[in-house]
């Protein structure tokens, strides 16, 4: 029998999905998200808890080294910055840097591994969970990792008398927001890369430089004047200034503007990440 004889000859015509032959308009981005994203978050949380020692403690080593090297080492040679000792000044910066690094690693290497090597996302999307819900689940989990590690660091700072735990809820809420922003930015990058080596460009070209530019380790007044508008355009600067404002009781009306800027830019990054991940996951 020839191939032509095997070929399916008469598929029935298909009816349109909706009356009048018009296809329903599909929702995209945040508009396509339901509470199902929580199930993706729960899945990641369950996997994290099963290996909590491995997942929690190694990422804390780096910020503690920062605290020791900068706060106690460099701080020994620095008298005061902005009216406080160097450890008090740099602690908010290290908290925020810890948050963004956790969110970034979770939604770059972590998400890419789940997407490309484990086929976890394919298996999830073949259930009623949408690509947008998978992405928001990943972002919210990345932000949660930021809060977990920032919280662990804050406990140590409180023990050393550098943090009044009364402010902890506000600081942690802020870390969640900045965690969402960097998790979304990282997932946006993840949606574009074809192999993990490309993350080096993102980490070395974006994540590490912005830490130097945004007042984490020294006052913004120390960077060249022409770079200062650029520094304030980076939302991380607002996040660090807000965290420092809470910890040093220096919040003002400008803080509301910073918070609004942080929230708006976060929403933009989340929307972009969700749309880009849909394109990546539904080729």
């Amino acid at each position: 029998m020839s191939p032509a004889e095997h070929t399916f000859a008469a598929c029935p015509p298909l009816a349109a999905d909706a009356p009048g032959g018009r296809r329903p308009v599909a929702r995209r981005g945040l508009a396509a998200v339901s509470r199902r994203f929580v199930q993706v978050w729960r899945r990641n949380a369950y996997v994290f808890v099963k290996l909590w020692k491995t997942n929690l403690f190694p990422p804390l080593i780096e910020p503690y080294l920062y605290l020791l090297a900068l706060g106690l080492g460099v701080g020994f040679y620095v008298d005061q910055i902005d009216g406080v000792d160097y450890l008090t000044f740099v602690a908010p910066g290290i908290i925020v840097v810890t948050s963004i690094m956790q969110a970034t690693f979770e939604c770059t290497y972590g998400s890419y591994f789940r997407m490309a090597f484990q086929s976890t996302f394919d298996a999830i999307i073949s259930t009623p969970v949408s690509p947008e819900e998978v992405s928001l689940g990943e972002i919210s989990w990345g932000a949660t990792r930021a809060v977990i590690n920032a919280g662990a660091l804050m406990v140590s700072l409180a023990i050393f008398g550098r943090l009044d735990l009364v402010w902890a809820p506000a600081i942690l809420a802020l870390q969640f927001l900045v965690g969402v922003q960097f998790a979304a930015l990282s997932l946006l990058i993840t949606s574009k890369v074809r192999q993990t080596e490309y993350f080096n460009f993102f980490l070395s070209g974006v994540i590490f430089p912005v830490q130097m530019l945004t007042g984490a380790f020294f006052p913004l007044s120390r960077i060249p004047e022409f770079l200062q508008p650029v520094a304030w355009a980076v939302p991380l600067t607002s996040a660090i200034d807000l965290t420092r404002g809470i910890m040093l009781d220096r919040l003002g009306t400008h803080s509301l503007l910073e918070l609004a800027y942080l929230m708006v830019t976060t929403a933009v990054f989340v929307e972009l990440a969700l749309r880009s991940m849909r394109r990546r996951l539904i080729g």
Binding site: P3, H6, R42, R43, Y46, A123
Partner: protein
Amino acid sequence: MHADLQPADLQPARPFADRPAITCVGLAKSYGRTRALVGVDLQVERGSVFGFLGPNGAGKSTLVKILTGLVRPSAGEVRVAGGRPGTRPVQRRIGYLPEQFRFPFWLTGREIVGLHTRLARSDGDYSHLLDLVGLSDAADRKTGEYSKGMQQRLGLAQALVGDPEIVFLDEPTSALDPLGRLDVRDILVHLRERGMTVFLNSHLLTEVERVCDRLAVIDHGAIIAQGTTDELLLSPGLRVSVGDMSADAFTRLSDVAIRAGWDPPSLADGVLRVPGVAANEVPDVIRVLVENEVPVFEAGLVRQTLEEAFVHLVREHQHSRRQEP
């Protein structure tokens, strides 16, 4: 083990509208200038096991991903379980075993199925699926201790979470030993008995031949054949064990084959194959061989294997593509 399970152990299948499980009309997919699928027409009946075959890069995975809502077609129409793939009503009705997957090695098989059950927002306890795939004894072991075959079975259990009406299996037996393949084959038959439609993408032609009701062959993005296994196998053909055969004798036999309407003969390792020969035409072939002083040791009609049919179909299609301007 699955042999001990009764159909009642699984939830009863919920029939969707009285339509085929899968229908594709003129389905096409392009990635830039690369055409992965070209005008695919396909229909899979409900409650059947459908085999999908093709060489590497032929478009198999692209079609499976379109059917599971993971890839958007560039053109054409597709319906799965009566709806458009990727929509929630359809995603509720399908299960999918990806070709390449890994599980977090520190989770147990029971935890993996439990997590997927929550993602699918299914009600009820689906740990009995571990029994179905023969992993009940290993359900509480970490998947890092699982063999490849056990992981593949766990993937199959995961695909069956949510009691799907159609399940897409991408190479479900590729990492299994012969006994494991036999188990999976039994599971597929069991699923068919309870009315589930199985779309099986596999390179293991023997498995496909034994378990599938219908199958399709794809090459360069086009369906080049589809039908029942019997329809696809060329038969009967003649297989003759011969001694030395001169080129002159082979040419004369080829001439006879052309006049008689048989397919061209082939000779390899002392075995002469003449496809398309009917039982009453066997003496004609033997006569040609004897007249040309070719020693004949054994002769018999053989049914073509699916592997032979597959190779024949794909080579014929590729040959015809090369002939095109």
